[in-house]
């Protein structure tokens, strides 16, 4: 067998795992690893400007492909800088392997230079973590790390490697294991047939059914099956923020996102439904509103690969533990074979009711109350210019909600955003992670002037590696989402939500070697955006001035039921 040092083993194991790009930042305890990287060409390393960005890049790669992304950081501050990115991936069930350096094993516990207990710090925000105790364990630990990250309910895995484990002069036989067996980890690979049968029996008797698609459909690559079931049964489908594109945005059966900023019709459909088939949504508090008032007439079928997501916040009438793809397949088979069908009359009047709801609000917004462009218009233009096919990587705030509401995704895995943690600063590195791996695709970062400044240093990385993403900054000169809450709940006392010292973004991006555009008038927007996307090999930053007074609507009334919503500044359901 080949003899390799620990450092070489790490790099070789990544190669054997099929990893092409890793994202990271060097430092003392990973120098052996960086030296091993230098001496090969299979695994390419992207040098970021802040470790948080490395984790978001790896995360976004995973969101777009389903395969674990990999980040490499040094001990101490390098590792702690990565924590936000690890937590971001954890909350959204994203597979990721983060390799952190550690001080030499004999120094652990002695407050050595750049020592932090990364196993302890990361524990609540990882699916699992490993600390390497001997170099010979490296291949099997890395194999396990990828296995755990990518199977079952995916999540981030940290591998903490003390520097002496990677010593270049200590060499050991290397063999990458073909498979892993963990006696305490056996994710389910199919749903319980009896439960699925029971669920379909109930579903087919529904008079006001709805399918709720969650992140599990996207993570579980089950969009095709979902689409087939929807079209076979002609039921309405709503989705969470994490499942945009599972069903095409322009599909007639799509009633849009539900929840706090969900569409009027989606929330009305949920409230009045008699059977909800939830596939891969964990009934987050931004989705359910007041749980005691949640969907009073509905029986709930809940499909999730993680039993802990079922009956956590909303009790399921029929729980099904299993992967969305397999469960949907079996559901399809049952529906196709069944002589029972949904009551056509009931379904018809259900759809009539839904059309009426669609007519009531339908995502309208005012354009006559401000000289400035509306943020919604910018997203609609982006949708038009890119035809619903772009990867849209969002930051966090109002712009994120507008993007979710107004961009009509044709495909799953193209809406890349931080839903569970809501991490400002996610957007730009996420767009970079996608663009690097899909160089031909249109990749947009939708951001705000607040969020973009949380990782703006990555414009430098984009320059170094030629990553021509399009940054669309909805510049409302304020932390809009915070400001909206202050308008609604604090009598417009705008405590610390205003930024009056913004940089000249055009000059700033130019200094990083990119193209800057400032757009103030809606009439200039489309042409500018077309020009930006036509500049295929340049990063273009569009600083778009939008109305700072605009609010995101609909917005559910706190602790109310699904149907309790503000539809505009003056109109309530």
């Amino acid at each position: 067998m080949e003899l390799l040092s620990g450092a070489e083993m790490v790099v070789r194991a990544l190669k054997d795992e099929g990893v092409e790009n890793i994202y990271g930042y060097p430092g003392g305890s990973v120098l052996h690893l960086y030296d091993a990287l230098f001496q090969q060409e299979d695994v390419k390393h992207i040098l970021v400007r802040h470790e948080q960005a490395a984790t978001h890049m790896a995360d976004a790669y995973a969101r777009a492909t389903g395969k674990a992304g990999v980040a490499l950081v040094t001990s101490g501050p390098g590792a702690t800088n990565a924590v936000t990115g690890i937590a971001t991936a954890y909350m959204d069930s994203i597979p990721m392997v983060v390799i952190t350096g550690q001080v030499m094993s004999h120094l652990i516990g002695e407050d050595a230079f750049q020592e932090t207990d990364m196993i302890g710090i990361s524990r609540p925000v990882v699916k699992h973590n490993f600390s390497v105790q001997h170099p010979e364990e490296i291949p099997s630990i890395i194999k396990k790390a990828f296995h755990i990250a990518q199977t079952g309910r995916p999540g981030p895995v940290v591998v903490d490697i003390p520097k002496d484990m990677t010593n270049p002069t200590d060499r050991y036989p290397y063999e990458y294991p073909k498979n892993v067996k963990l006696r305490s980890y056996n994710p389910v690979n199919r749903g319980h047939a009896g439960q699925i049968k029971k669920a379909m029996d109930l579903f087919l008797t529904a008079k006001r059914p709805v399918i709720l698609a969650g992140g599990g459909v996207v993570i579980g690559h089950a969009s095709e099956e979902l689409r087939e079931l929807i079209h076979l049964t002609n039921v309405p489908c709503t989705n969470t923020l994490m499942a945009l594109g599972a069903l095409a945005g322009r599909d007639q059966n799509n009633v849009g996102m539900l929840g706090m900023h969900g569409s009027y019709e989606a929330n009305m459909v949920m409230h009045h439904a008699d059977v909800i088939l939830n596939i891969g949504a964990r009934f987050d508090d931004r989705v359910t509103n007041g749980t005691d008032k949640f969907c009073p007439t509905a029986k709930i079928i809940h499909v999730d690969i993680d039993p802990a997501s079922i009956s956590k916040t909303i009790r399921a009438d029929i729980p099904i533990v299993g992967p969305a793809k397999n469960v949907l397949d079996e559901m399809l088979a049952i529906v196709k074979a069944s002589n029972k069908q949904l009551d056509a009359e009931a379904l018809k009047s259900w759809w009539e009711q839904i059309e009426e709801w669609r007519g009531r609000h339908g995502g309208r917004y005012r354009t006559d109350d401000s000289e400035l462009m509306k943020p919604q218009q910018v997203i609609e233009t982006l949708d038009m210019v890119t035809g619903g096919d772009a990867y849209v990587c969002s930051d966090v705030g109002q712009h994120q909600m507008y993007a979710a509401q107004y961009y009509k995704f044709n495909h799953p895995n193209r809406w890349i955003n931080s839903g569970g943690l809501g991490t400002m600063g996610f957007g730009l590195p996420a767009a970079m992670g996608v663009k690097l791996n899909f160089p031909e695709a249109d990749v947009a970062c939708v951001t705000g002037e607040g969020s973009i400044q949380m990782n703006i240093q990555e414009l430098s990385t984009c320059n170094q590696y030629d990553i021509p993403v399009k940054v669309i900054c909805l510049n409302n000169q304020s932390l809009g989402m915070v400001r909206q809450w202050q308008d609604m709940n604090y009598e417009s006392r705008h405590s610390q939500s205003y930024m009056n010292s913004l940089p000249d973004f055009v000059k700033l991006v130019e200094s990083y070697g990119h193209v800057g555009m400032k757009v103030d008038k809606f009439s200039d927007l489309e042409a500018a955006m077309r020009e930006a996307f036509a500049l295929k090999d340049r990063l273009v930053f569009m600083d778009v001035a939008v109305d700072p007074y605009e609010h995101v609507y609909p917005m559910q009334v706190p602790r109310g039921s699904m149907r309790d919503m503000w539809l505009s500044k003056t109109e309530r359901t």
């Binding site: 609540p124 699916k127 963990l182 006696r183 993680d306 039993p307 802990a308």
Partner: protein
């Protein structure tokens, strides 16, 4: 309601901290916790007693099961089971009357005096947590110097076993 949850855990460094961390992270309560290796040296057995309604206890067992180091979980309170806890209690015993009184109470509870000095008795008692509580209650006349309890261990009655 009080639940006794038994866990088979990989005998790995850090495994215990994952379990304890889970309880604090998810706001689950821990009344007592015991852990020790089993006959199989790769496994530890952990028993935790906790309070919670059905929903909370369902979450506790599901979340425990999700930990990679957890091999098996059972809520012993769901079936017939035996629970035992060991207590050692040091009492002031500096005159004949007190000594006799302690001795008599210990006998009633089937405790044993396992150490004695001129001024103290140390009594050992094994039983359910409520029996141990009752013993402390019964000794309210005496002056307690120190109490140490092991926390609860539990096992299912009959032929049911928690093993690999």
């Amino acid at each position: 309601m009080r639940h006794i949850i038994s866990v088979l855990l990989e005998n790995e460094p850090g495994a215990l901290s994952r379990v304890v961390g889970l309880f604090s992270q998810r706001n689950f309560n821990i009344e007592s916790l015991t852990v020790a290796p089993t006959d199989d040296e790769t496994l530890s057995r952990l028993t935790v007693t906790t309070q919670g309604d059905d929903r909370v206890v369902e979450q506790i067992t599901k979340q425990l099961n999700k930990l990679i180091d957890v091999v098996k979980v059972v809520d012993l309170t769901e079936g017939e089971h035996i629970e035992r806890e060991l207590m050692m209690i040091k009492l002031k015993a500096n005159n004949g009357t007190v000594r006799a009184e302690i001795k008599r109470t210990a006998d009633i509870f089937r405790g044993q005096v396992i150490d004695a000095t001129q001024n103290t008795f140390t009594v050992q008692l094994i039983g359910s947590s409520s029996k141990l509580d009752a013993f402390i209650e019964a000794l309210s006349g005496a002056s307690i110097l120190e109490v140490v309890r092991s926390g609860v261990s539990g096992i299912a009655r009959g032929e049911k076993v928690l093993s690999l």
